[in-house]
């Protein structure tokens, strides 16, 4: 039993060490594609007037962001680097009618030209949930699409009475 126990402990330590080395360092990783810089090239729906680039400060944290108003879609062509990962912070900054009690849904989708799929979603209700009044970290592993050109699609869906503004903070493709 002693020998097996040793193997098990060694394997567990190795797994935990590996996780420690690979995880929790999202902020430090190098940015391969800064999507704020590519904002001009992105396809904007329903119209460019629904979007703006600005620095948004929430809870004392300022991030260069793409801000949208209402339900929108932003599509970036991205050629995914090796070990690529999409990282963004989402939040709903206070708008003119900040007392809205509804929710706002952030959806990240990917199209490879043949199929589309939602890969991440976050629903925020900043009026009713205090924890939604911060920047929320969203991260999508793009390993499946390594070396491919894909459409990275950022959707915002606003429910009735939901917040008007959505902020995509520091959107970027990073390498792990």
């Amino acid at each position: 039993v002693t020998r097996y126990t040793r193997y098990l402990v060694a394997a567990s330590v190795a797994v935990l060490a590996g996780q420690g080395a690979c995880g929790s360092r999202v902020d430090d990783v190098p940015i391969a594609i800064d999507l704020v810089h590519q904002y001009q090239d992105a396809k904007k729906q329903p119209s460019a007037a629904s979007f703006a680039v600005s620095d948004v400060t929430i809870e004392g944290q300022t991030k260069s962001s793409i801000v949208s108003r209402g339900s929108t879609r932003l599509t970036f062509h991205v050629t995914v680097p090796v070990r690529g990962r999409f990282r963004v912070f989402v939040a709903s900054p206070p708008g003119p009618s900040a007392e809205n009690a509804g929710s706002i849904l952030f959806l990240v989708g990917i199209s490879d030209g043949h199929t589309y799929r939602d890969v991440q979603s976050r629903e925020l209700s900043p009026r009713t949930r205090p924890s939604d009044r911060h920047w929320l970290d969203v991260s999508v592993d793009l390993a499946e699409y390594e070396n491919m050109t894909i459409d990275l699609i950022l959707n915002v869906r606003v429910s009735d009475g939901g917040p008007e503004l959505a902020a995509w903070g520091s959107p970027a493709v990073v390498t792990r």
Binding site: G113, H114, T115, E144, Y145, E146, N147
Partner: protein, 668 residues
């Protein structure tokens, strides 16, 4: 224990192979032919490195046609199969038959090692070889070679388990096999739980005791299963498959698999009535022969109860119907239920622990591998359930064989058993016939497959031709007779390029007729310059040629094709093209939505054959090669898309034509 008359391992293997061959011949002779069936049309194709990378991180089908599953090894299996056989469906079906025969022999081995007599082990081989569930699940449908692979691996694991039950370290190969099986198909997850339960069952029924370090083995098994499920979910980012059914549908799914494989339960109620009637008769005879014994009352009452319960299935026998009452499906089901019930009854009556273990082991495998099918249950995925069903039937037959009777009566019993099993291969034969190229359902599904974006144009023309031939009662031509097939090519270029010229992706694969000796292409990229050249490499076997495009001028690439082992296996010449310097329109122009990779514009100029010459180009475009003396020109066959092989006489640069990438969808 095996008696002294037990044949040697070699003799047994030869006998088992012969029995398997007989069973397979009865079922599949003349029932396997050229052609593909449904999913085959997009799985029988080359998978490029990008696809092979993607399958480790997402769906097994990067084309997005299939439902989402995590089966990376299956994708590699299909890629390897295409590399080896191309479109030679005859060879691929031969592999299926050989693999199925190997599985059947391994079933015999499993039974023999569990103490079954040689006759029973060979009966198991025969039952497996001719089982009606398997044409669809692993023999006649090329896509289901993944099931065949899974069956082979599961049987190999079961044989390994038989040799390593007492030695914990030998469970390591089992763990490796379990991981591999899971990466072939997800229902392989149930293998480790099945082995754990089989070990426990053996301990309870045969009193063998549990292996040393049993808790450690149990814990490791649970951890490994959990890790595999977590890996799948992490890689797919979702449950995948067909979604979660309602409780009622889940229950119906679960019972469907058990009924279909243990009892061969028919789909029509009048046939269910016939099967039930046969089982009632068998139970009645069994009870009459057993008579009332004080110490077997419970068993007697159970048999009686089962017979009464089966009576509820009888009324539909009088329902009006437009089909015969006595069909192979009904008779096979009646035989299966009767054999199982009477065999289990005899094993319990006589406390025959060996037979009881084999019966319960088979049932356990059915239950275990049926569990994932709560989500969705389809007959084409019952290959592992069938394995359990065959073991249970063999166990029941083993119990019947232990009844002490006179030699003459034994011969009569054996003859009765063989006659009773006849519906099995005959039903299986009709199942296999449903996959013949001109079968109605095959032609109907061809129409759907024809619309998949991944199916090459030339293959679509072949499908049209096949439908016409079937209508005229003629045999479809082999796929290997198609003069030229290409994957990784587009019928038109990106927006802003002339129409009518085909383009390659960054990689393309061409299949040509086997006797092709020279393959010539005209290549062009209008934006190629000396500072940004485009390199195109053509490879076939050991031959290769590289062309550097450094201007917008057309250049010619000519590759000499040679015979070889792979050419024989494929019955085709294969040419691989790689383009360095490809581009994506959406990257060049953010307003474009075209995410495809484009290599070069091309035209097939000339294909020479060993005995004749086929010219695709205008005479003004003679090739810069020392071609053999011109032979009679061959008129392009009906498969050649009109104009697809003609090189425009002037370099075409026409106005842009945008063709959006149309997402495809398929069955749910």
């Amino acid at each position: 224990m095996m008696s002294r008359r037990t044949p040697s391992a070699f003799t047994f293997t030869i006998c088992a192979a012969l029995v398997a061959a007989i069973g397979i011949a009865v079922v599949y002779a003349g029932q396997i032919d050229v052609g593909l069936y449904y999913d085959d049309y997009h799985f029988v194709r080359p998978l490029f490195p990008l696809d092979l990378h993607r399958v480790w991180f997402g769906s097994w089908d990067p084309a997005g046609i299939e439902s989402v599953f995590y089966r990376p090894l299956t994708a590699y299996l299909f890629a390897g199969r295409f590399w080896l056989f191309g479109l030679n469906t005859t060879a691929m079906h031969a592999v299926s038959i050989a693999g199925h025969a190997l599985c059947a022999v391994m079933v015999g081995w499993f039974l023999r090692r569990e103490g079954s007599g040689t006759g029973i082990a060979l009966l198991g081989v025969l039952l497996y070889a001719a089982h009606p569930s398997l044409p669809q699940a692993q023999v006649s449908w090329l896509t289901n070679q993944m099931h065949l692979t899974e069956s082979l691996m599961v049987l190999l694991t079961l044989l390994t388990w038989q040799g390593s039950r007492e030695r914990p370290l030998l469970w390591l190969p089992i763990a490796v096999l379990a991981i591999a099986i899971f990466l072939v198909k997800e229902d392989g997850l149930m293998l480790l739980p099945s082995l754990v339960l089989l070990t426990a069952l053996r301990s309870v029924i045969l009193g063998t005791g549990l292996p040393r370090r049993w808790p450690l083995l149990l814990g490791s098994g649970v951890a490994l299963c959990g890790a595999l499920v977590a890996l799948r979910f992490e890689r797919l980012g979702r449950l995948g498959g067909y979604g979660v059914p309602t409780l009622a549908t889940g229950y119906a799914n679960f019972t469907k698999g058990i009924g279909a494989t243990l009892f061969l339960w028919p789909t029509r109620t009048p046939w269910q009535a016939v099967a039930s009637g046969m089982a009632i008769l068998a139970i009645a005879v069994g009870l009459a022969l057993g008579r009332w014994r004080h110490n077997r009352r419970l068993l007697f009452v159970s048999g009686l109860g089962l017979a009464i319960a089966l009576c509820f299935n009888l009324p539909p026998i009088s329902f009006p119907r437009s089909y015969p009452l006595f069909a192979w499906q009904a008779l096979a089901s009646g035989v299966a239920i009767s054999t199982l019930v009477i065999g289990a009854g005899v094993a319990l009556w006589r406390a025959d622990r060996q037979s009881l273990f084999v019966i319960t082991a088979g049932c356990l495998l059915v239950l275990a591998f049926n569990t994932p099918f709560v989500l969705v249950s389809k007959r084409e995925q019952y290959h592992l359930l069938t394995l359990g069903g065959v073991l249970a039937l063999a166990g029941a037959a083993q119990a019947l064989a232990t009844i002490p009777v006179r030699p003459t009566a034994r011969i009569v019993l054996v003859l009765l058993l063989v006659a009773a099993l006849l519906p099995f291969p005959l039903l299986a034969r009709s199942q296999a016939a449903a996959f013949l190229p001109c079968a109605a359902n095959v032609l109907e599904l061809d129409k759907e497959a024809r619309g998949w974006w991944v199916v090459p144009e030339e293959l679509r023309h072949w499908m049209d031709d096949k439908a016409n031939r079937c209508r005229d009662n003629a045999r479809p031509t082999p796929l290997t007779d198609i003069p030229q097939l290409a994957w990784g090519v587009y019928p038109e270029g990106p927006a802003g390029t002339p129409s009518g010229t085909r383009w390659t992706s960054d990689r393309a694969v061409f299949l040509l007729k086997r006797d092709a000796t020279v393959f010539s292409l005209a290549l062009r990229r209008s934006d190629a310059t000396s500072s940004q050249p485009v390199r195109v490499t053509l490879r076939s076997g050991t031959s290769s040629v590289t062309i550097l495009l450094d201007s917008d001028e057309k250049k010619y690439a000519t590759l000499r094709l040679r015979p070889g082992l792979l050419v024989t296996l494929r019955q085709n010449q294969r040419v691989d093209m790689t383009v360095d310097g490809w581009f994506v329109p959406a990257v060049r122009d953010p307003r474009s939505s075209d995410l495809r990779r484009f290599g070069v514009a091309f035209d097939v100029v000339e294909i020479h054959y060993s005995h004749q010459r086929q010219t695709m180009s205008p005479s003004s475009m003679a090739l810069p090669i020392s071609a053999p003396a011109p032979a009679p020109m061959i008129v392009p066959s009906v498969f050649d898309p009109p104009g697809a092989m003609m090189l425009p006489s002037t370099p075409p640069l026409m106005p842009p034509m945008i063709r959006p990438v149309v997402p495809s969808s398929r069955r749910q």
